[in-house]
């Protein structure tokens, strides 16, 4: 068994709002083995991004974070802000959804990559610049030396995301969090960026936490998947197994909603009926019960995350779903 680069246990995040505390994450647990990719999947508002920002220590002070976050065995959730800061960019890094706005328009691509190197590795200006150019080459930016002197507005979207990746990986972090890294990009560029991430991960042993709502991306790039619903983990396990035999009705619904090219022509896309519950006033028991086709009386109590098959867990009273799905 490979050592965990990142281990998250019972992560809970509560925001102080004018209407009282709002618990947006409730007991999230997952682990990220070194050199592997774990996908965090769910609809908008399910808490994926909050979870990643909590791990990075980037949530605003109004957010209360509870639970444990272990980076290579070291507990970091309780560290003072100054020590958390030193870890960011060095041992764990993050790339974001919008490469257009995530780079600072006032500095060149090279300066922005070099900045992390100067900060964390104490390189002088010239060396940091040389290392930044090498990093830009590593993320397959043609004419890296020239591009390093350009400003973000002179680069294409795909190029900017490559700069972001170069910046994030410059200090060879153990963990990379990629928050919907390709959502804002063209389809062809998406594939290139994801292939690049896979390649770099293979080369450096960096563990990748890939946040996405695209199950196609999960199938092609993730080793493990964690499906989130309304601030809780609905299901988790090896990606291939979860996609082939989902054990939570929400995952079943998500898979039904994913468009397929090999399906019969003219098939209407299935959707998950209903809407995500209001977290200020969540339903009692299972949070998915209001949208669940398999709901029974016991669903009014909170389902535990149970192991259904080795390494494959689901938080559903009715799991395993195999017989129910066959009957349906």
């Amino acid at each position: 068994m490979s050592a965990s680069a990142l281990e998250v246990r019972d992560l809970a995040v509560t925001f102080a709002t004018e209407r009282g505390p709002l618990r947006v994450l409730d007991g999230i647990s997952f682990s990220l083995p070194a050199g592997r990719t774990v996908a965090l999947v769910g609809e908008s508002g399910c808490g994926k991004s909050v979870a990643s920002l909590a791990v990075m220590g980037l949530l605003p002070p109004s957010a209360k974070v509870a639970g444990t976050i272990r980076l290579e065995g070291r507990e970091i959730a309780e560290l003072p802000p100054e020590e958390r800061r030193r870890i960011r960019g060095a041992e764990m890094a993050m790339i974001f959804q919008e490469p257009m706005t995530s780079l600072n328009p006032a500095f060149t691509a090279g300066e922005q990559v070099a900045e992390a190197l100067r900060l964390h590795q104490g390189l002088d200006r010239a060396r940091a610049h040389a290392a930044a150019v090498a990093m830009l080459e590593a993320v397959r930016i043609p004419e890296a030396a020239r591009r390093a002197r350009q400003y973000p507005h002179q680069l294409s979207g795909g190029m900017r995301q490559r700069v972001m990746i170069a910046m994030a990986l410059a200090c060879r972090p153990r963990v990379l969090i990629a928050d919907e890294p390709t959502t804002a990009l063209d389809v062809t560029v998406q594939a290139q960026i994801l292939a690049l991430l896979d390649e770099l991960r293979g080369g450096t042993g960096t563990a990748v936490l890939l946040i996405t709502h695209d199950l196609g991306v999960v199938a092609d790039h993730a080793d493990e998947v964690v499906v989130m619903y309304a601030g809780r983990v609905a299901e988790s396990g090896p990606a291939a197994q979860v996609l082939a035999m989902p054990q939570h009705p929400y995952t079943v619904g998500l898979l039904g909603a994913a468009p397929r090219l090999d399906g019969p022509r003219g098939t209407r896309l299935a959707t998950v009926e209903g809407t995500v519950p209001d977290l200020a006033n969540p339903p009692e028991g299972c949070r998915f019960k209001t949208r669940c086709p398999f709901r029974i009386a016991v669903c009014d109590t909170v389902p535990a995350l149970r192991e259904i098959a080795p390494g494959h867990r689901a938080a559903c009273h009715r799991a395993p779903l195999d017989q129910i799905l066959e009957a349906a």
């Binding site: 960011r88 706005t101 328009p105 900060l119």
Partner: protein, 315 residues
């Protein structure tokens, strides 16, 4: 870059021409016969009046007056003040350093207080430091100059005896005395503008701190002072630079009330006296020089813009 600069300089010419027409027209709209006013004691003598009219070309068609005025202007001749009996150019050269010194001192005070206060205020948004900065800025903006000036004279000159209450000593004569005579009026002028700077800087910083690239900077592990002082500030400064050029232009156009209170012989006093005396050549001269200062400042502002905002740098 050079092409842009040439185009930008080219735009100045029509701007200045339109300004010159406006300035010329403005004085035509002023009531009263300048010849009679300038003649003073001799206003009853038609001979003298005719001479003055001929000298000022008041007996010629307007376009001819304008043409002659513009021609002389292009040769650096701002005309002659009949009232003060001195060339206008000389008069302006006498007053300009005073206003320049006072204006620049006030500007430095405004920037040195206003910009850092705005940054701190944005960084500690909705906390005591922010409230304090906002309160002081509001007080600075809403305190009338003349009142603050009088209060400062009362405190620092009358009660404490630290500073001279009025008058002006040129920098070249005695720089200590010069600073002593200008520090209070500069503070009076700069204090209010500091408040304006503080509020604009605060707003721009709050906008910048909410941007995605600031989150990226934090994700990189940069210390908060670098996130604020480098990543956010660089972008927040763009609107502040615009404000700076406008405020500096206003300061250099002279400060009528403040110069009056502290008996500073600057532009403000010159133009007020000239208007009351219908000393047309002086009014025109001052306005022309002020317009030139504004045009130059806006050019400098645009260049600064390009320096801090690479998106504007066109090939």
């Amino acid at each position: 870059m050079w092409g842009w600069l040439l185009r930008r300089l080219g735009q100045i010419i029509p701007t200045l021409l339109i300004l010159s027409v406006l300035i010329f027209a403005l004085q035509q709209l002023m009531p009263g016969d300048p010849a009679i006013i300038m003649a003073g004691e001799e206003r009853g003598d038609p001979q003298v009046l005719a001479e003055i009219r001929a000298e000022l070309m008041l007996d010629r068609p307007l376009w001819e007056q304008y043409g002659a005025w513009l021609w002389r202007l292009l040769h650096g001749d701002l005309g002659f003040s009949w009232r003060i009996r001195q060339p206008v150019g000389e008069l302006i050269l006498e007053k300009l350093p005073v206003t320049l010194q006072l204006g620049l001192m006030a500007f430095v005070i405004a920037v040195v207080i206003g910009v850092p206060a705005g940054i701190v205020s944005a960084a500690y948004r909705d906390r005591p430091a922010d409230w304090a900065a906002n309160g002081i800025a509001l007080a600075g903006i809403s305190t009338p100059n003349f009142w603050l000036g009088i209060m400062m004279i009362l405190l620092f000159s009358v009660n404490l005896g630290w500073l001279p209450p009025s008058g002006y000593v040129p920098l070249t004569e005695d720089w200590r005395q010069s600073l002593a005579t200008t520090i209070m009026p500069a503070f009076v002028l700069g204090g209010g503008i500091a408040g304006v700077f503080m509020r604009h800087t605060r707003a721009a910083m709050i906008g910048a701190l909410g941007q995605d690239y600031v989150r990226t900077a934090r994700a990189k592990g940069l210390p908060e002072r670098v996130v604020i002082g480098r990543h956010a500030l660089r972008n927040a400064l763009i609107p502040v630079v615009t404000l700076g050029t406008i405020e500096l232009g206003r300061l250099l156009a002279g400060a009528v009330l403040t110069e009056q209170i502290f008996s500073i012989p600057g532009f403000g006093k010159l133009i007020v006296d000239a208007v009351f005396n219908r000393d047309y050549p002086v009014v025109q001269g001052v306005v022309v020089v002020t317009a030139l200062i504004f045009v130059t400042l806006s050019l400098i502002g645009d260049l600064l813009y390009m320096a801090i905002n690479p998106r504007l740098r066109v090939a």
